[in-house]
Amino acid sequence: MNIAVCVSHVPDTATKIKIGDDNKTINKAGVTYIINPYDEFAVEEALTWKEKAGGDSKITILSVGGDSNKETIRKALAMGADDGILLKDDNPRDSMGIAKALSKEIKSHKFDVVFCGKQSVDYDAGAVPQMLAEFLDYSCATVVVALKMDGNKIIAEREVEGGREVVELELPAVIGAQKGLNEPRYASLKGIMSAKKKTIEEKPAAQAENLSEIIKMYSPPAKQSGRILGTDASAVPELVRLLREEAKVI
């Protein structure tokens, strides 16, 4: 089985994001980057599939971006993936630009299945897996929390508003992984060492025009501090009144 996993290199979820001076990008000073958490589920799923399929199954990691993305590709290699390809472009791309670059590369291989995170936690557009499937003419399921192989078919459970939806897909397919799909493994020491020795293939990302533009980036309004109404039972009536009339929660 020939498997692809698309990974994105994003700021650590614990990082305090500061807006850059241009009000369009973030200030990257002091920001540590990690593999997009949803992509970790995608890598783990690919590893499980490879283990099940056995034989000469292979996992290829793909990422669009600058040199620093290699760190994230290496992380996926350390978890157990086989090859890595960096589709290089130092300029920022929107979902369309990324999906086009990925689809061009994926077309030149014969992948049975392409795993992605359902979205990346930097821009949160959640659009790449669907666009990719469209460009490749693959079937597609996103926000997937459970997966089963059944011959040439896949049974996927998707998280939808208020419940779950079970869909059947034919291979080849693009899968967008949601939290809950699996528990990603840690890289082993051996994995780390062999990942260091692997070469990551570098190619220029296919040209594609961005269709969207960031006009302005701003922080959400600061949380207002709480109000202390009193420190004993006498404050309760006022608290109830405010919860009812002002906060409108009861």
């Binding site: 650590d12 979820t13 614990a14 002091g30 540590t32 980057y33 990690i34 593999i35 760190e71 290496r74 992380k75 350390a78 528990e183 493994r185 840690y186 890289a187 082993s188 020491l189 051996k190 994995g191 780390i192 060492m193 260091k196 420190t231 004993d232």
Partner: protein
Amino acid sequence: MIIKSSTDEIQNYLVDASNFRGYCDAIYIPSGTMEVMNILKEANNKKQKVTVAGNGTGLTGGRVPQGGIVLSTEKMKNIIEINSEHKFAVVEPAVILKDFQDKVREYNLLYPPDPTEGNCFIGGTIATNASGEKTFKYGSTRVYVNKLEIVLADGDLLKLERGRSISEEYKLNLKTESGKEYRIEIPVIDMPLTKNAAGYYCKKNMDAIDLFVGSEGTLGVIIKAELKLVPYPEKIISCIIFFNNEKDGLNFVFDARDKSYRTRNKKSTANIDALALEFLDENSLNFIKEDYPQIPANVKAAVWFEQEVNSSNEEILLEQWMQLINLHNGDEESAWFAANEKEKKNLEEFRYKIALKVTDYLAQYNVNKLGTDMAVPNERFNEFYYFCTEEMKKNKFNYVAYGHFGNSHLHLNLLPRNESEYEKGKIIYKGIYTKAIELGGTVSAEHGIGKIKTDYLLEMYGEKVLREMAKIKKQLDPNLILGYGNIFKESFLK
């Protein structure tokens, strides 16, 4: 200043993470030095007990009052200065350790003392000479305290700077801001050759500041501290290895420990030199298994290590660690390796989880903590570990054993389910600390004595030494108002 006295408001101040409980009349929350001085002056005149409270994360009842008032430092929480050129920071006592560490990180600096609980106040870590995982390489809090400002029991202010007031052999002179002088006799004792947080620090030609670090709120109230910082390491590798045999896990720790010491002696940078070297036994792993289903089946022990690396030595060091893991039959395939900062934090949390679960367990069964905090000299640790675990098995008592094994420091937590089991556990515990003392160890390596370990301290140092330590306390606090019940039993203060 805020004063709280209604039952609802003071509840949180009457307990700490050991579940030890107390009582008091009121909580005083000063917002600055003058207010602290005034509270103490007044209390001293009235001979009223004052218990200094940090964030309540302690494990020995140190902040839990036994009557009188509580002085909570919680409003004094400013980071006054971070000086990246000379690598120090000036803080008030209620700065939360974890926030402080995050803040100095922005300056690419590190504050190494890192007790497992990051929500503690820095004041509390100084008062108990806190240590933790990283003490194996960096040493305990004491090493990082450059200057202290302390309000003494009578409200007088004492300013100390490391290197400025050294005892002449065992005679120490202190001079307060108002000009008052104290001539203190330091007891002549041999402190254990382990990390140690039991009783006052006493040494020939010692620095006055060291008397106050680890004095558990019995000598004064810390209101300001200047702390030493170090450059943040370029990169830290972090790994948890699982072993199918407990002995292999222990031998791995001992081997890594000895290798680390050799590396430091040689001042080499391309050899094994662990930052942290932690051990978790099978019971500990089972205790957290529901939170970490990825723990491999049937493992008998786990070891967590960290090491500083840089781009030029990383590969060679990974190679060395791998060889060491293989040598001791560690399961290299199942080891968890942190590939980035986030995963490194996850591994820290894994180790911390066990301590948190013990605290939850105590609250659930409403029993007090019965956990060892003993360290023994390295060459005796193996003997100590097997003595303790055999005692537990012999008595069929539930327990978890984990801790800073690189420092020969064991946290064996007994897990009683009710008061009668607790009483039975206390007897086993006594056997364990007696053994630690016999092996030349300490009854408290990092948590301090507080109120629940005063008996053990007496056992460790004997009555004569304790009376000499109490003499220092009586000189600085003649009305015995501060930290009542900490370190000394009442009979030693009469």
